[in-house]
Symmetry: C2
């Protein structure tokens, strides 16, 4: 089982969510090293979602990050269980290894569970919705991708000890970043996988414009954050300009 | 999605795990009402495991508790997601609704995550092990069933405020109860589902003897517990004498 869990968790990836978590901790004046258990949990949650989404009954993707998907490599039964184990390990890891006061741990756990719940709701919409409108698509993306991106930033803020009242600018930036991430995804995919996307709904040109607009908004929202924004800025560029 | 989650969570069942949790809280001198969020989480975890275990790629069971399994009723994609949602909701429910000090909440969360991890490991052994020995079977049962039964009792103890040093007698009782539960399961199933069991491995007569022996040990271990044991005794009888 460990094999299958490691295969999906340690496969090549950009580690956007854990890096956002660490970058947010730094920006909010905390020690990123203390956020590592939360960052690892975020990557476990991301890996869990990929393993289950790739299953034949869901998106039926045989390739993930250029390698055979978990169910191709280990069989469907083990892929279901490996996904379950990854989700559970995310909680377990924070419960056992985050060296913060109990109330901070609980705040981080609440962010994770909110992000996961939204992500599953989004995937449900994705597999059941027939012909989404632009509004449906925005909602689906916010749930499926945006919520965990926002949770990634928020986990970093809790570890840095930033009070909820001061988290607003970060959360607004993170919400935009989640949208940017998803539009870029749609543009890169170019409507080829048959899933509802801004490209299939609004056309390639409009989707490219939307990337530009969202990127600009993200930069403006980033500028409203007080603190060392350098790593958050790097990640914004990585997301806006990624090519795979 | 809520539909599919409710369908599996609220289907007819004996609610052994939540009842054990509440009974343990009472025995340890706590207020069972305070343990309700933990009890609900245990049933969510149990429901999650049934939904995923029933999937075609795993045990391929079309019926669960006399009704169509989740994947038969809602399709495989939704069943995978409903299982995921149930596991996540278990954590979320305790994080949000258990009205205990943060350290008690974290202890409960740690019990849940340990129980779930063992359960998934057990199910992995079950779907991958070819011909288990008696020792393998004991280990598989301990992981797949015993760990969550023990966690159910332990969650109740944490809510009652029983210190770890005083939890030993309860945990030993719970471990035996988990074994009893599984041997009874094997006897009731009578080897018909083709899964490794004490009946297929040791024969029907020996398995029946083992039920009796385990029941006696459970009663002896129960007698070593100081406190109001009445509900724990009722549940022991329910488990030993159940017929479905």
């Amino acid at each position: 089982m460990d094999d299958a869990v490691r295969y999906s968790l340690l496969s090549p990836g950009k580690r956007v969510r854990p890096r956002l978590c660490l970058a947010a901790t730094r920006a909010a004046g905390g020690d990123p090293e203390r956020a590592l258990p939360a960052a690892a949990a975020l990557e476990m949650i991301h890996a869990f979602s990929l393993v289950h989404d790739d299953l034949p009954a869901l998106d039926d993707d045989d390739l993930r990050r250029g390698r055979p998907a978990s169910h191709v490599r280990y069989g469907e039964a083990v892929a279901v269980l490996a996904g379950d184990a990854l989700l559970n390990a995310a909680y377990s890891h924070v419960i056992r290894h985050l060296a913060e006061p109990a109330d901070v741990k609980l705040a981080v756990l609440a962010e994770l569970s909110g992000g996961v719940a939204a992500m599953i709701d989004g995937q449900y919409l994705d597999v059941t919705a027939a012909a989404p409108s632009e509004d449906d698509l925005a909602r689906l993306h916010r749930l499926k991708t945006g919520a965990l991106i926002e949770a990634s930033v928020a986990c970093g803020l809790w570890v840095a000890g930033l009070p909820p009242d001061d988290q607003g600018p970060y959360r607004r930036f993170a919400a935009e970043l989640g949208l940017l991430f998803q539009i870029v995804d749609d543009v890169l995919d170019d409507g080829t996988d048959g899933e509802p996307s801004y490209v299939t709904l609004l056309g390639r040109d409009r989707a490219r414009e939307m990337v530009h607009e969202s990127h600009q908004r993200a930069l403006e929202l980033l500028a409203a954050i007080d603190g060392d924004r350098s790593q958050l800025a790097e990640l914004t560029e990585l997301i806006a300009r990624r090519s795979a």
